[in-house]
Symmetry: C2
Subunit: 342 residues, 2 copies
DNA sequence: TCAATCTGCGCAAACGATTGTGTTGACACG
DNA sequence: CGTGTCAACACAATCGTTTGCGCAGATTGA
């Protein structure tokens, strides 16, 4: 009733009067190495093709201790940024013969840790992780244990784990420079979760640009503590009350920008008439907002692809000398949310 | 070097001077059923907890022919609609002890078929599929083979497979009625891929609403053949040339609406001043467009959750009498893209 | 005292592949 | 005729679990 016999090496071998060994060797292309006769080989191959039989990966996994499976942990797969990463991870992995087991940590460090353990227990060959929190703690252990694990986006350099991230520093620096070029001097900065590498790097780029132009840095202009829409909304509201002289807002995520727009609309500030806005991370719909938003585009597709490739390297070489991090360049997409001041 | 010994029943059993059988029974909660002494039980349990050992799922899968794994095939994980479904699938599956193997068919029927085969070969216990094409052909086989498989969104009723979808008919009907209520009579309809259930149902709802109000149906007003942005853009362009008297556009997807907006902007038609627009499928950013778009919200989170539950049912009951389909209600989200005509 | 019952486990065969090491029969060569 | 070579495979162990029986010793009842 519940049994779905399917095929197996044994079944096939009986059908041809040979041993499972022979079938296995034929199907793994070792036929001539083991001098299987061409007739036997052809018969078996034809049959396998007709039934499109593949040796059971579970049994294979048990024997070979390789599951051809990669774990992927994402803080929120419904977030387009991460969905984009995931899509490339899935596709590149597939072309290399790997399947993806997907976990969603729901922006929850505890669940993230749990998922990591789950995936290792499930014998994945390697893992790609977009960490959620600030504290790597247990990640360090995996680094020591030499497990194939690569970090994406919210990376932790210095942990001894390979990682790939956008060049947040330069991206933010260029965006800020763009605002400065357009005459803005009082530029507010809606940052993301403090302590995370992307947020720190972006704020770093922001201050670097200011310093380069000799514009004084005002700590009151750097606000926020989350990448979410709520935070963008609230902090923008507070901002235009506390420092009404700002002429531009640099929102360090997509959602922060949306929140900012909502707040500005409620406060009857026009964009870019009264206040210019730059977002971080491009998404198709940003072009359709009112106004179309200027933003720093992250190469999130490339990030996903790069992560898989780094991981594959890591998986074949038990662990080369130093784990290399990878920063991918961003690009400034100029639309219509920045006004030129005179 | 490559060997990661880890733990195993055998290792643990040797540590406690018992047999692997005993350890297995303790860890699967069969201790008293097999009269394992409380001391032995506790010792083993404590050790397992400390090392947080779990019996190797691969070996378990081989023995039990159950992998506690569900396959999920999505046409495009980067599409927020599908990403939303996926997020719920992952989460609900997790709470039931199942992991998700994710495949992306890239809107490609051939790749879809290939992915299905891959997943079955990988011994998934069940599968959730968002089909891409119009022709079910090979799906029928799985229905006959009684495999646990549930369809989502682009469903095929009458195939003998359980499915879950939004109530596209009623959703479209209500949206059209909303336009009619606002005085619109010449309502164009940007449909999706013809032959797919969602598109047919939505067009069905549209015509039903017209008929109910006695508004004549004009076939020239129903155009398009894809859910993509390009199609929305192009067909809108053509539409306002061919039938300039339209006062409203019902775009039957998100992306179609974006395309329509782009075309209308280029043609200098204001929304909703000159032309009203209703979209299908709500996404957070629609509220931030100019103007905020009125749309038919699909319960895509619920759809994902329902799919998993249907699948779990299917997996425990080899196959009850008739496979039931499930239509989840939509809701009309009224924003500012529909103008009241007088 | 002997059989019956109970306690507390162990044996060994799967599950479906992979692999190092045989084994067998045919043929060649000297 | 003896031996060596070669073609064409087969054996059996192994990966880590689960599970239907089975079994030895202790206790109990009559």
């Amino acid at each position: 009733m519940n049994s779905r016999p399917r095929n197996s090496l044994k079944l096939i071998s009986e059908k041809f009067g040979v041993s499972p060994t022979t079938v296995s060797r034929v199907l793994s292309g070792q036929a001539q190495k083991y001098r299987i006769s061409p007739e036997t080989e052809k018969a078996i191959k034809d049959f396998a093709a007709k039934e499109n039989f593949t040796p059971n990966p579970i049994a294979k996994g048990l024997r070979l201790k390789k599951t051809h499976t990669i774990g992927l942990i994402i803080p929120d797969i419904a977030n387009p940024f991460f969905a984009g990463i995931a899509s490339q991870v899935v596709n590149v992995a597939r072309t290399h013969g790997y399947s993806i087991v997907l976990c969603d940590s729901e922006e929850n460090p505890a669940l993230e840790k749990q998922s990591i353990e789950l995936l290792w227990a499930r014998q994945v060959d390697g893992m790609i992780l977009c960490p959620v929190g600030q504290t790597p703690d247990y990640l360090e252990r995996y680094a020591r244990e030499q497990r194939p694990l690569v970090l994406v986006d919210r990376v932790f350099p210095g942990l001894g784990l390979p990682y790939v991230s956008a060049d947040n520093f330069t991206g933010a620096k260029n965006a800020t420079a763009h605002l400065l070029d357009n005459g803005h001097r009082r530029i507010a900065c809606l940052q993301g979760m403090v302590g995370t590498a992307p947020s720190e790097a972006r704020v770093g780029g922001y201050t670097a640009a200011l310093k380069e132009r000799g514009v004084p840095f005002d700590p009151r202009l750097v606000v926020g503590d989350s990448f979410g829409e709520q935070s963008g909304y609230l902090d923008t509201k507070l901002l235009i009350r506390a420092t009404p002289d700002i002429t531009a807002i640099f929102a360090m995520s997509n959602l922060l920008a949306l929140g900012a727009l909502r707040a500005l609309r409620e406060e009857n500030r026009s964009v870019p008439g009264d206040i210019s806005v730059i977002a971080f991370d491009d998404q198709p719909y940003l072009a359709h907002l009112s106004p179309p938003l200027t933003t720093v585009a992250q190469p999130h597709l490339e990030m996903g692809a790069a992560a898989v490739k780094l991981l594959l390297d890591e998986m074949r070489a038990p662990s080369s000398a130093t784990k290399s991090g990878l920063y991918l360049p961003t690009s400034l997409v100029i639309r219509q949310s920045v006004r030129k001041l005179d």
